[in-house]
Amino acid sequence: MPLFTALTLFLACDQGFVDPSREYGPPVPDAPAKVSRVHVPTSLGAVDTPRRDIHGAPIGVSCATCHAGPGEDAIVVGDNGNPEQMHGTIELLHGGLACDACHEPTDRRLLHLADGAKLEMAEAMQLCAQCHGPQARDYQKGAHGGMTGYWDLRQGERVRNHCVECHAPHSPKPPQVQPAPRAVDRVVFPASETH
């Protein structure tokens, strides 16, 4: 019997830690859960101008700068009947949609849904969702769209990217990018063309 006890003890020690207090970290308290919130980018409700900031990013001007309220009369800064002058940076490559398909004609500060219901710019994701259902579902479930912060909402909040942070609303297909530099590895993989 003492032999058996010794053997059990030996096996127990071999499996785990000598100091059991180190096996796990402190338990996470079920404190009030933090939230997962959507980041609202400043590019919403603004149009790019040809001017650039020091990082080379276009400087935007808010829609409300010119379109101060509902109705055509609310245009503060006139465009001399030439909308292209102010909206010239916009390249519209979004499934052949027209401006008014998303933008509310009676109040240019707003958007509208397919049923005509007006929508604040900050709620643009609802507008995206009415056509892009599978993506919207995946987004809601956390399987689409980038995020930062905490996976564990008990310990901290999560900030999720807005649709327009990755997909420019007027030309949603992301452009090609130059990849980050590769590792200088000792192992050289054969190029697929020559292998």
Partner: protein
């Protein structure tokens, strides 16, 4: 007299042989590496360190980083969260191969700057196949290239990990939350684990990593991103210094397409569980029976 003489001779002979054997046995001490302290030589295996031992080791390692790299860092022994099993999934439908994940890994995990090393390799493969042998990792053109798809590969934190079973000295093992870790101070650098890994996920420190002091990530853990010594193996730890404190891994935060999903597989409401239950997922080289915790999936 003759007996005594014989005995004396034998004694002298024995003493000479004994002294020679002792000198031979002690010879490695003559080749004592300059950067090896007595404390490091006598340090026990990670699992055998008491809490007090661990604190002493951490302070010593912090001092060494300060002495050798000029960087003030905090090294913690970050332990698993109870009732958490980590899982990771990657959406191959949206990955564009931009290597932002590898870049973030490089910075977060204090990799050697000259080799631009990271724990993630992004394979460029022809559409319509997952033929790894025909893939390349050294592409340098704009991505995504037409007719190509991209597959980042990192440690799969296998539940039946070949790298763990081949280690002759148990310097690598699987933690209770599923992460396979290395005790860099116990590893002898035999590289068996590198050879055993079917995902080519392990890296060897051929050189002492060189990182400018101001670029060293000071938020470190013993089992993850502390600066590794020369001659030891290293690997992805799902950023345990972050994830065991509830944060997302660095590669996930860096991904510009949102291709990565991370979380606790025991939580039925977690994102990773939704992906595993609803998406078309697969694991790489399933036939090998390694049971990875890293899953790939498609949108359609």
């Amino acid at each position: 007299m003759e007996d005594a003489s014989r005995r004396t001779t034998l004694k002298a002979l024995g003493a000479t042989l004994g002294a020679a054997a002792f000198a031979r046995a002690m010879a490695p001490l003559a080749a004592w590496p300059e950067d090896l302290s007595i404390d490091e030589l006598l340090q026990r295996h990670y699992k055998e360190l008491s809490r007090d031992d661990m604190v002493r080791v951490l302070r010593r390692l912090e001092q060494e980083t300060l002495d050798q790299y000029g960087a003030v860092v905090t090294i913690d022994d970050v332990r698993p969260i109870p009732e958490v099993q980590f899982g990771y999934a990657l959406n191959l439908s949206v990955c564009v191969g931009c290597r932002k994940c590898a870049e973030a890994c490089h910075v977060e995990n204090n990799h050697d700057r000259a080799t631009n090393q990271s724990y993630i390799r992004v394979l460029e493969i022809k559409n319509g196949s997952v033929d790894l042998a025909m893939g390349t990792v050294d592409y340098d053109h704009a991505v995504p290239k037409k007719g190509r798809s991209y597959m980042p590969v990192q440690c799969h934190q296998c539940d039946n990990a070949p790298c763990v079973s081949v280690c002759p000295i148990e310097a690598t093992w699987k933690e209770p939350d599923g992460i396979v870790v290395v005790d860099y101070n116990w590893c002898i650098g035999c590289r068996y684990c590198e050879a055993a890994c079917p995902y080519h996920a392990r890296r060897f420190n051929w050189h002492k990593p060189e990182i400018p002091a101001e670029e060293i990530n000071p938020d470190q853990a013993y089992l993850s991103n502390r600066v590794r010594p020369q001659g030891v193996m290293e690997k992805c730890t799902f950023c345990l210094h972050r994830t065991r404190k509830g944060r997302l891994p660095a590669c996930l935060e860096a991904c510009p397409t949102g291709a990565r999903v991370f979380g606790n597989m025991l939580d039925p409401n977690s994102e990773i569980r939704w992906v595993l239950e609803n998406k078309r997922t697969f694991v790489l080289k399933e036939d090998l029976g390694t049971r990875p915790r890293f899953f790939y999936f498609f949108d359609k």
